[in-house]
């Protein structure tokens, strides 16, 4: 199985390493050559330097053979556009897109893009952590 990860920051690089460990053939795209270091000393997969908006870069990274695409650059709108290109132009059914803004994440999720919103996750986890403190007399929320 081939996976393409666009954006090799903390999030993208960790996803790439995780998938590679699980047996995927992983190809990574990032604008910055130095981000290759985040993939460790012996990165077994492909690494292409370029912008994910550039279709030639996506092709070079093997998008035409990819079964799954993860878009995790640091720009919400960049991710949204690249995700749609992967979905609509390259016909990839498993496209996962990181969108930090909850409003945009919801809007594009309604339109059929698989958006993942770390902000929403953080809000839920942090709120739950407050609830879990069990301070005497604090308001209780029924599950």
């Amino acid at each position: 199985m081939n996976a393409l990860v666009i954006g090799c920051g903390r999030v993208g690089s960790s996803i790439a390493r995780q998938l590679a460990e699980e047996g995927w053939d992983v190809s990574v795209v990032d604008e910055n050559e130095e981000s290759l270091a985040r993939l460790g000393d012996r990165w077994p997969g492909r690494f292409v330097v370029g912008h994910g908006m550039d279709v030639e870069v996506l092709r070079e990274a093997g998008i035409e053979e990819a079964e799954a695409v993860v878009v995790a650059t640091d720009g919400d709108n960049t991710n949204i556009v690249i995700g749609q290109v992967a979905q609509k132009r390259f016909d990839i059914s498993c496209v996962v897109v990181r969108v930090l803004d909850p409003a945009r994440a919801d809007f594009y999720a309604e339109r059929g893009l698989r958006t993942v919103c770390p902000t929403k996750t953080a809000i839920n986890v942090l709120t739950d952590a407050v609830r879990a403190c069990e301070i005497p007399g604090m308001p209780r929320v029924e599950a």
Partner: protein, 220 residues
């Protein structure tokens, strides 16, 4: 008419000023704080500060009314795509015009059905092609919806098509000759039209067939 403009750079600000002078209601959104401060001196309440790809910023600017037209004119193509999609699909804005900064991104706008678009680089390049004679093939018109384009080529004495009738040319699939201009007079190209050096020929073709067309008409 109520016009919402995203992006208060040179393009957005000049468009806003022109529309306001023509008596239209305009709201301009600018993300950069320093630029917003400058714009506010001129546009006062007609400019708002914020990221126009955020729904609450767009709503504060009145996108839910909705405006008659939204102009996505930021210097960032991804932002312009997202603004156009949100305006059209979430708020039912009847008309959106988007700016394409990098012509390589044009295909993304087309893929997402964002039309019309305006690309200054493409416009300049079309003029350059028209003005510089050594460019053999001039793009005259792009029919984006139809996925066709109209180009002009000039036949010279070394062209393989010079002296040939149109019906004897092996035209690439998806390309047709439209007309031949000779000595200032244009005629519809038919099978029996014979091409001559100096002819300016109009052709309609699918984008991407330019090289095949050039091979048939211009170089052996």
């Amino acid at each position: 008419m109520y016009v919402l403009i995203a992006g208060g750079g040179k393009v957005g600000a000049n468009v806003a000023r022109t529309l306001i002078r023509a008596g239209h209601e305009v709201t301009l959104i600018e993300q950069n704080a320093a630029r917003f401060a400058r714009l506010e001196e001129e546009f006062e309440h007609q400019v708002q500060h914020g990221d126009a790809t955020e729904l609450h910023i767009l709503e504060r600017a009145g996108i839910a009314r909705p405006p008659d037209i939204v102009l996505a004119l930021t210097g960032d193509d991804e932002d312009n795509v997202v603004i156009s999609q949100i305006a059209q699909e979430r708020y039912g804005v009847p008309k959106v015009i988007a700016r394409v900064n990098d012509p390589r991104n044009q295909a993304h706008f087309d893929l997402m059905g964002i039309s019309p678009t305006i690309c200054a680089v493409s416009s300049v390049m079309a003029l350059v092609e028209h003005e510089v004679p050594e460019h053999e093939l001039i793009h005259l018109l792009e029919l984006r919806k139809e996925n066709l384009e109209i180009v002009e080529v000039q036949i010279d004495k070394n062209s393989p098509s010079a002296g040939k009738r149109v019906e004897s040319l092996t035209m690439p699939e998806g390309a047709r000759l439209i007309s031949v201009m000779r000595n200032g007079r244009a005629e519809i190209a038919v099978g029996s039209t014979e091409l001559q050096p100096g002819d300016q020929v109009l052709a309609i073709l699918e984008p991407g067939k330019e090289d095949e067309l050039k091979r048939v008409l211009l170089k052996a």
